[in-house]
Symmetry: C2
């Protein structure tokens, strides 16, 4: 099961960490842009830059982390050429043995939800009856606002194709409480979403007891993480908000179980744009690659130290 592959990656690399691949051309070092500066089709050039950039990041990190999280917004930003870079990035990351979590926050109902699920996680049949995998990512993030009509079709495709989802439960941003924290019958709204996730996860688990029906739970509200951890014991948490958004190592501990599993912590800008506080894009390729390596190893060590401090002998790695 895909969740077992993710867990085995975490254990073998001692690294419950996922690196966000959010390629914003303004922050990408000039060295990646030079080869394409003379291309006429501006977006095609940017697509090439992004793929070269991602390739260097992936080559640098694949021994240290089990997964990458391309944020598809930054690829749609560059139109068809950006999406081509997304497609190639997913393929390349999988070739390197990484689990690919697409951050797409997709959502719709019934047959339309199934269309998203099949396109990103499943297969389609071509005119000659052959099955083709359009994007073939391993996990997709999904938004719950439409209710179970908008979630169950994703779960069904996951079961059919051995894939996973992370449902947005409580996000890391400042305004996440505006709707998510509204109190209904004495409980915040996000707990009702958690109930749905838990119900789906409970009956669908892999060999380590975790389900590929997971939840997005931000690093920035540790007390909420703690209550959600107990409401969704079998779900893996994808945890954004560490670092740049203010979540610290102690905060994210609440997302883990005592075996050191149950959560994977994301960092995007904190790793791929760690080369300079002020985005000095004149950095050399060696300096850039080194900054990625240093920051990912630093994050790995920070999280692992904290886990060891908190869970000592119970830790599985």
């Amino acid at each position: 099961m895909i969740i077992d592959r993710l867990i085995e990656g975490i254990i073998s690399k001692k690294s419950p960490i996922v690196v966000g691949l959010d390629p914003n051309i303004e922050y990408i070092p000039d060295i990646y842009k030079c080869p394409y500066a003379d291309m006429n089709d501006g977006l095609e050039a940017i697509g090439n830059v992004i793929f070269d950039f991602n390739k260097d990041v992936i080559d640098c990190i694949y021994n240290y982390v089990p997964a990458v999280k391309p944020q598809i917004a930054y690829y749609e930003l560059y139109g068809m050429s950006g999406l081509q870079a997304f497609y190639k990035t997913v393929k390349y990351a999988k070739e390197k043995g990484l689990v690919v979590i697409e951050d797409g926050k997709r959502n719709d109902i019934s047959e339309t939800a199934t269309a998203y699920a099949k396109g990103h996680l499943g297969t389609v049949t071509d005119l000659n009856g052959l099955k083709i995998k359009p994007f073939d990512v391993d996990f997709l993030t999904v938004n719950p606002y439409l209710g179970s009509d908008g979630l169950t079709p994703f779960v069904e495709i996951c079961k059919e194709h051995d894939k996973g989802i992370f449902v947005l439960v409580k996000t890391s941003n400042k305004s996440s409480g505006e709707f998510q924290d509204k109190i209904c019958n004495g409980r915040p709204l996000y707990e009702f979403v958690a109930d749905y996730v838990n119900q789906q996860a409970d009956s669908y688990v892999g060999k380590y007891g975790y389900s590929p029906v997971g939840a997005v739970v931000g690093a920035t509200y540790p007390q909420i993480s703690q209550s959600l951890r107990s409401l969704m014991p079998k779900s893996f948490f994808l945890v954004p908000g560490f670092g740049a958004q203010g979540g610290n190592p102690q905060d994210v501990m609440e997302c883990f179980n005592s075996d050191g599993l149950g959560a994977i912590i994301n960092s995007s800008r904190g790793i791929i744009y760690s080369y300079s506080d002020k985005y000095d894009v004149s950095v050399s390729r060696d300096e850039y690659i080194n900054s990625v390596r240093v920051s990912v190893l630093d994050m790995k060590e920070t999280i692992l130290d904290e886990l060891k401090k908190k869970y000592k002998n119970e830790l599985m790695y």
Copy 2:
């Protein structure tokens, strides 16, 4: 302003109707598939089929409706080739003078939300400093679960590029109430979303008094539509759920103001797959095109009759 262009299309065509372009290859008549049956790349063939199919639909309807709503899930379903068909469809529909409402239900926060907004509604700058419009749709649907951090960046890009959004407030599906109807401090959650939309719409209106910051309000809950109409007086409603999902002509009247404006009713399957109850894909091209024409004219007449019955002399068209 883009909302004025939409309104002028509604008035001149006497048609507050948008046709959903949801190309599912299983339901597309065989006649569109034949020319590409021998192509080796299955998804590229499907992309070509979809564009030819959409082109016939657009040619048939552009005199009768002001707008089309491509549902991007059905293009992502076919990977890069599907998205290429989406890109070409948007371009073709705009050439025919149609307003394009992309049903993408996008959502994310801060810079990432801005990336979605720029990619779909705005511009990006290429390596040579030229501004390029990656997708350039007119309106995009947006999911509010992340709060104002996830909505305001879209509104800002709309203002900069004269575009619009429809925020999911109350959707048409059966399970929409699971989270959207939860009662918080005596009010359903969707009303808090409506408050945000109204606040943004109130200070940003076109010459007819309507704002390009609109709302998705399903046809299937007329009492709710009525209360939302008064909570968001300046917002246009994009109304799904008519026909196939059970919303009838009387139900959708609640989404309009007495001038016959304020709402645009969507039909997808009811028009593009009206050729046969049982999806008999052996239909001829002439029969297919005729079925689209008949069903769109029928819907137009049905809605217009109902508007005339209800609002008589106040109607603007």
